[in-house]
């Protein structure tokens, strides 16, 4: 009992010691409440790094509104409650804008804290419509493109460019992102004349085997032209391996989440596999500035970007700084108003549009990356023919 009390007092006293990194008094402060440990860390860290690259660039060019930008950080430990605390901590540290964890579920608590404090928040790379007005509030934005756009992009591109007429949909019900891809696909598919969805099935990411699902596909005659797989790692690699092992050679489409070559050793010699990406990490981006960015990133971190999710971090600082510059103030409402005026605002990784209804991209230019012979490369570029309406996104 005595020790407990001591601990409690110690704990309370410790609270006093807490002080965020001292920033210079007239600096603009960006708060980063992202995961520095736990399993989200692998996804947050690269995007955070590229955000820092853009901040350094701005500082080197004389800063923003004539002031330097400094950064305060807090670790969300891949925990929702800890995320809310991290959000408060960076706000206590004087953050004028808060960057939150990549995933909507893990970033939302910090974003809500920012919203409550009247500050703008940006998700590093969340791809759910909720990462914005619909799930946080009018001061919240996401730097990435909606998952639904990825599904719709793959459907339309495969139909137009690869002459795909029969699709099979295989949905991993594990997380919301997967459903977002398939929802986008389902929104697009009916508008593709004489294309048909010949079957559907579901699995869960950590299923030890998808033998039954594979048998269902194999029983189809003829085999589908393309399989729309809506999944993420590690399940996606496992399913792709099992599909190919079972002798299914149909084209496989997925969302951006499986970009990168790090997992391709799982399925040596993989062919006929396509994903949409915002920029190429493979050095063959049509825009040479992207390749230059990759080199700058490699210089800073010791290795090039491992997936396209490195890029939105750069984009978010970029668009936010532009809006601040145009507003001439850090006042949240004024900056939001400027952000909402952006229509196809060019960035290094595709155009960005925000308006008073959607703080996210319901349409976006995507590069199409193909894996053939076990090696990924960019083969095409696609923008869906019309933006996905809000009603379809909210369903």
């Amino acid at each position: 009992m005595k020790t407990t009390k001591k601990l409690a007092i110690l704990a309370a006293a410790g609270g006093l010691l807490l002080s965020a990194n001292a920033a210079m008094a007239d600096d603009i402060v960006i708060g980063m409440a992202t995961a520095q440990s736990g399993w989200m860390q692998a996804y947050d860290a690269p995007a955070r790094e590229s955000a820092l690259i853009r901040i350094d660039e701005i500082n080197a060019a004389g800063g923003l509104l004539g002031r330097q930008i400094s950064v305060v950080e807090a670790d969300t430990k891949t925990d929702r409650a800890e995320g809310a605390r991290a959000g408060l901590e960076v706000l206590d540290g004087g953050a004028d804008m808060v960057v939150v964890s990549c995933d909507y579920d893990f970033g939302a608590p910090a974003a809500l804290a920012a919203q409550a404090a009247g500050k703008i928040s940006f998700f590093l790379c969340a791809e759910s419509i909720k990462a914005g007005i619909q799930g946080v509030g009018p001061f919240s934005f996401s730097a990435s493109v909606l998952a639904a756009v990825q599904g719709a992009t793959m459907a339309e591109w495969a139909y137009e460019k690869k002459n795909v007429r029969s699709f099979y949909v295989l949905l991993d019900t594990w997380i919301e992102y997967n459903k977002g891809i398939c929802d986008g696909f389902d929104w697009m598919a009916p508008s593709l004349a004489d294309a048909e969805v010949v079957g559907r099935d579901t699995f869960v990411n950590d299923d030890a085997s998808v033998a039954a699902q594979i048998t269902r596909i194999r029983n189809l005659d003829p085999q589908p032209d393309a399989i729309m797989l809506c999944s993420v790692m590690p399940g996606a690699a496992s399913v792709i391996k099992q599909l190919r092992a079972a002798g299914i050679t149909s084209m496989i489409l997925n969302g951006s989440a499986v970009d990168g070559s790090y997992w391709l050793d799982s399925v040596p010699g993989l062919d006929n596999f396509y994903v949409p990406v915002q920029g190429s990490i493979y050095g063959d981006d049509p825009n040479p500035a992207v390749t230059a960015f990759n080199e700058a990133y490699a210089e800073r971190t010791g290795a090039g970007p491992s997936t396209q999710y490195t890029y939105p971090g750069y984009v978010l600082i970029d668009v936010w700084a532009k809006a601040v510059e145009r507003a001439g103030t850090l006042d949240s409402a004024a900056v939001v108003a400027e952000l909402e005026k952006m229509v196809d605002e060019p960035t290094l990784f595709g155009p960005r549009t925000f308006n008073s209804e959607i703080h996210h991209q319901n349409r976006g230019r995507y590069l199409i990356s193909e894996v053939s012979g076990g090696a990924p490369h960019i083969v095409d570029e696609w923008t869906i023919s019309e933006p996905i309406p809000l009603e379809a996104l909210l369903k």
Partner: protein, 304 residues
Amino acid sequence: MTAVLQILFDALAVGSIYALGALGIALIFGVMRLVNFAHGDYIAFCVFAMLVPSTDVVAIVLIGKLPAILLIPIILLIGAVISVLSEMLVFRHLRNANPATMMICSFALGFVIQHVLLMFYSSRPKAINLWSNLSLPVEIFGARIPLLQLLTIIITFVILVALMWFLKRTRYGLEMRAAAEDFTMARMLGVRANRVIMTAFAVSGLLAASIGLILATQTGVADIRMGMPIMLVAFVATVIGGLGSLPGAVICGLLIGAASVLLQVFLPLDARPFRDAFLYSAVILCLLWRPDGIFAPRSAKQRV
């Protein structure tokens, strides 16, 4: 006919992994009433042992590149060693603790293993390519199944037979069965407790390692959480099989795998995401039907 055979193979392929897991859990439970929640983490540990510790995204495969004849014994050994080590470092000191305490300790141990892996390898799943020609499909009476799944099924049965032989025909096995029946009595009759328990842990670790090898080959991915779902199903299978009954655990592991495949095949699309809800409801019904387990040995009857 072919369709039925295909379903049977699919069911066996899923079920045999669960069966191997259940066997590992049941062995330990038999000798010391410990539900070892760290078992799933042994599986992940064995898989990650094939890679060079690094938080880089691209995995560097080290001992995973060795020829099978070396790789398999090394990984099995690693499984046995980590399992025995956890016995010596943790569970040995808890012999007289109640089952809940031991269970929580095993969970804490698993938590530690998981976070050590996280620290050394980062959380991003890593690619491992083992014996890719095992992924080629073979055809049996018109049903096509990847060679690896066939091997998994065969390996499971070989391990089962070997284990049965070990338990029935060797002195260690006899001691282990005696200890599983009545530990105190067995000790009084000259069974050396530590040796029996260590053997059980070693065998259980071997089983975890073999699941790790099978999973790594099948999925091509090393993920820190990969052992968890198998461990949970194995745990359930052990209980509905009848705690202390090894064949019961194995059969129920197979049954759960088969049930999950059958549900996947026969449920309508809208209900398929709820597959696991049906599966676990069936588990509850099964428990109500036979609270002591389907194959409960007479000695396992529990009070309260």
